[in-house]
Symmetry: D2
Subunit: 334 residues, 4 copies
Amino acid sequence: MIAVLKPGATKEQIDNLTAWLEGRGLSVHLSVGEFHTIIGLIGDTSQVDTELLEGLDMVESVKRISEPFKSANRKFHPDDTVVEVAGLKIGGKNFHMIAGPCSVESEEQITAIAESVRISGATILRGGAFKPRTSPYDFQGLRAEGIEFLLEAKKRTGMPIVTEIMNVNHIPIFEEVDIIQVGARNMQNFELLKELGTTQKPILLKRGLANNMQELLMSAEYIMASGNHNVILCERGIRTFETYTRNTLDLSAVPMLKELSHLPVVVDPSHACGIARLVEPMAMAAAAAGAHGLMIEVHNDPVNALCDGAQSVTPEQFDEIAGKVRKIRKVMEQ
Amino acid sequence: MIAVLKPGATKEQIDNLTAWLEGRGLSVHLSVGEFHTIIGLIGDTSQVDTELLEGLDMVESVKRISEPFKSANRKFHPDDTVVEVAGLKIGGKNFHMIAGPCSVESEEQITAIAESVRISGATILRGGAFKPRTSPYDFQGLRAEGIEFLLEAKKRTGMPIVTEIMNVNHIPIFEEVDIIQVGARNMQNFELLKELGTTQKPILLKRGLANNMQELLMSAEYIMASGNHNVILCERGIRTFETYTRNTLDLSAVPMLKELSHLPVVVDPSHACGIARLVEPMAMAAAAAGAHGLMIEVHNDPVNALCDGAQSVTPEQFDEIAGKVRKIRKVMEQ
Amino acid sequence: MIAVLKPGATKEQIDNLTAWLEGRGLSVHLSVGEFHTIIGLIGDTSQVDTELLEGLDMVESVKRISEPFKSANRKFHPDDTVVEVAGLKIGGKNFHMIAGPCSVESEEQITAIAESVRISGATILRGGAFKPRTSPYDFQGLRAEGIEFLLEAKKRTGMPIVTEIMNVNHIPIFEEVDIIQVGARNMQNFELLKELGTTQKPILLKRGLANNMQELLMSAEYIMASGNHNVILCERGIRTFETYTRNTLDLSAVPMLKELSHLPVVVDPSHACGIARLVEPMAMAAAAAGAHGLMIEVHNDPVNALCDGAQSVTPEQFDEIAGKVRKIRKVMEQ
Amino acid sequence: MIAVLKPGATKEQIDNLTAWLEGRGLSVHLSVGEFHTIIGLIGDTSQVDTELLEGLDMVESVKRISEPFKSANRKFHPDDTVVEVAGLKIGGKNFHMIAGPCSVESEEQITAIAESVRISGATILRGGAFKPRTSPYDFQGLRAEGIEFLLEAKKRTGMPIVTEIMNVNHIPIFEEVDIIQVGARNMQNFELLKELGTTQKPILLKRGLANNMQELLMSAEYIMASGNHNVILCERGIRTFETYTRNTLDLSAVPMLKELSHLPVVVDPSHACGIARLVEPMAMAAAAAGAHGLMIEVHNDPVNALCDGAQSVTPEQFDEIAGKVRKIRKVMEQ
């Protein structure tokens, strides 16, 4: 870590700051220039609060050299992490299609979709039971009952399931869930992350709507620092000024996160765009960008069927997308 | 609510959609134009899921006419809400200065600051006990012990206290806290909001870093829909591309939120800018924009004292700021 | 276009507004609801100033139903536009690799790179002569001399060239340039767009750093409304809060722009990410998303060679990228 | 300037880089740490291209210590710049109200408004002649004729005028204009800035919609580096995710720009919010934040009058705003 001091910093101020930093177990290396004094800090700087330092009147700016994340950092763990889920391997050279409806609506619905997407090549079933909604008046999901229906679909199809958690008190309800999803709005719900870190459940951690990759990795670090290293990162679109798409899918996050971290990276093109027609090209692009997997919303419910398609793709469309994605994957594996 | 249908929508599709909407208790008003058919929906449209409608292939776009928030809406509650806190009135024509340290560090520290800011005119004491930090390795606050120290300072100075909650399970620890703060990162922690809505505690709800005013009001609506109408809104800066300031304080939110809602609006200039030198001009500007109060970080701890100033202002600086803000307030009251 | 009036609008106000709108040649269709009156406007609403209407005190909000762009709109021109450049066809089912250095540095440099990228499969040569730089102290390009070097490279290799214009007065210097590029910072330099619209030169129009797709299409409309329909759209990354990449490449813009407009869409992964290592995965992803072409920076200059690689890819890396992109294209053509 | 090298950088690479940097006249100071080597550069680093350095494979990151702007920098010019305009002084301890219509519509209109706002206390007249519009079909202003009307209003009222330029070729038309405005969309039209730098006209430079303060100051630097030091900075709102206001007025830019630079800073609350009702509170807040002046849209045209108010304020409202702003200014001057 480097702190650049302002031109006017006095010797006494510098001595005081140096003493305070050394008292925190860091080696301090001073470099006095014509205009600025630069302080280099060596040691475990992940414990130093950047904002505190930056706030000091004598400090012009602070720069981390080492990334503030350690457990999630590729530098200290060069090999890909492979998360094992019910016999499946996520990460490394493996590729998985996660598919299912936005919301679990009934046992029939979730089972029918599960059977359909499994035949098309999906290996993991998704479905929302607890739903984070901007409005308290919008449908909040079937909650615990939704998880029961997912478990029933799992029993029938053999597919492991992933579903979102929103409350630290619900962890017991998720005991038989294979992968617990932390949604974009809870990416910095640090109390939830810490608690999930005390389990050994695979966690699918979605990037927040206005969060950068370092913040995503710091949230992964919260889970890992508490002991759970089974973290899967998920890019699902970020908020931009664009209005034709709901969010903007950041596919450059795929190679960048894979460079920064050893954790698996999957992409959710359905939520990112909010438009069924864009799911196919974005799924193919995500595969071409090197994602370890895709998470795609598939529906078969009457409202949507009634109106010939919706934000989710139909089972038939999913089958076609899955086929095209496999072709892209073949190019990638050459 | 208005839904504009795409040019190709067939009569059968339109009939199906109309039937489905009427089945939800809404009156449907069709307006068939040269190129587009427009569907007007009358009734309680706050129950209609905009995203679901927008996702339908036959729908070009959907527009809400009524705001999706009701309890927080000035239209249905023309008079200002005044939240009562330990004999103080927040909102309406009242103005309050909330002051105190970023983090509670010790009983001596919090009590000393409390006594100092009270003399300068602050009426409510702030101090962080549970701290949301991006890094798991940063100081997480004194937690429950911090609240004890705040309560001790309250006993000594008579000032009501406000401090942040991060976990739905901590509500019992906050029993004697006068105002519970929900921080920017938890603004859409809907499970926490719902639970706080079952209490009657005044809630100071901070705007999320990348959330717009409607989302802030929808989060207030979560608390109010559960029965707790004692909500105070807080503008604390939003994320922009600016780098000289930590966040960008959106002061236009003050008159705009006051127009949209009857809830009190306070401003936190300390977190927004992250620079002590900007607290004075931004505090004065917030008062001139019509805020119901200010929330200002004041420190007296050795680390900062050591280095002559920091992100928080000193008690002496706070005294000067408070004096200048009072002069602005006098202009406002003329 | 729909205008929703505020609850309090009086009959007299509504009559005045209606008369004013009809005076502009529009048919006005009133729909009086319980709470709101809705005005539907039929006719050439592209002439109606949305902001003016929205600013009226009696108006709650305004919504365009038709897109404000006409010449660029797929609705009125269902077939793909194919821009012809020196015998090449851009758009439709065609795919082109545009490659070359960020800046033209010398005749030798540009010719050497041109010959190299042509062998690897590039069909169009890029190179900056006039460089838009944030700082007046940064290298501003070789300017007119740079264009001469590009023309020399064109003569030797037979490749058509594309280079950026920054000043309406420079159009004569670009007479022999095959495609004139309008950079992100000039996307809303409307005077330049209008003037380029009076030529018949193919224009490669880059999306602005913080502009949405509608604004990009409106800028294309400026060129087209002046008579020049040879416009190629270019996605080159938008400004977001991410810091690991310079900008965020918005690949969902590719299928979305192709749906909204009939114009060709190419992608520049080099500028978007600012990191050579990301060019390959993003080039492959752009091809998989359906782009009509790629624009890739390739260098061979000593500074970069000295240090083993830089933001641009080397000719050898470009050769590998081009090969992989061709494989993705084969999947797309199946 | 500091460059942090990646862990793997070889001695040969470092030597090559050092030689290259020294060849550019810089002193290089190496600091070899346990994990990273840090290169400190001393000398005129404003000539070093940060992006080029950052792009090198061996470089992890680059940090400027000195700001890249020099002429606009307060560090090298501690005293406030005071721009003289037709006998008026802008900057320092002076405060000015600039007022007038969005667009000049006729000689009668501009003269009537000018006389009215002058009585209310405005000292400079604004009015748009050349209008930057997103749509080619929107009203583009009266252009040269608009400037003639402004000059007529100046003759009658004695008020100096400010109006926007969009094309480098129009500079002769602006010969009698007192202050030339560069709009937000042209803030990085570097060719225009350079040309304006060769005149001695006062330039009112508006911040771009998605530009940060450093970019604004670099654009000021373009004008100043060409010889024209009469630059007035203008904050006019930036693009954010907020939708209730058109843009978000960044009032923290006022004290921050005044700290970074010696140039005057004025605020335009009308464009920022797009809502007449917000002009008063934001004008007062801007004055309280320390702005050197305000730029406010005032209309009296029939369309708006017809409908009882619009985005601009009426002359009567302006009179009230001006009175309140004077009271805030009195507090500031104490």
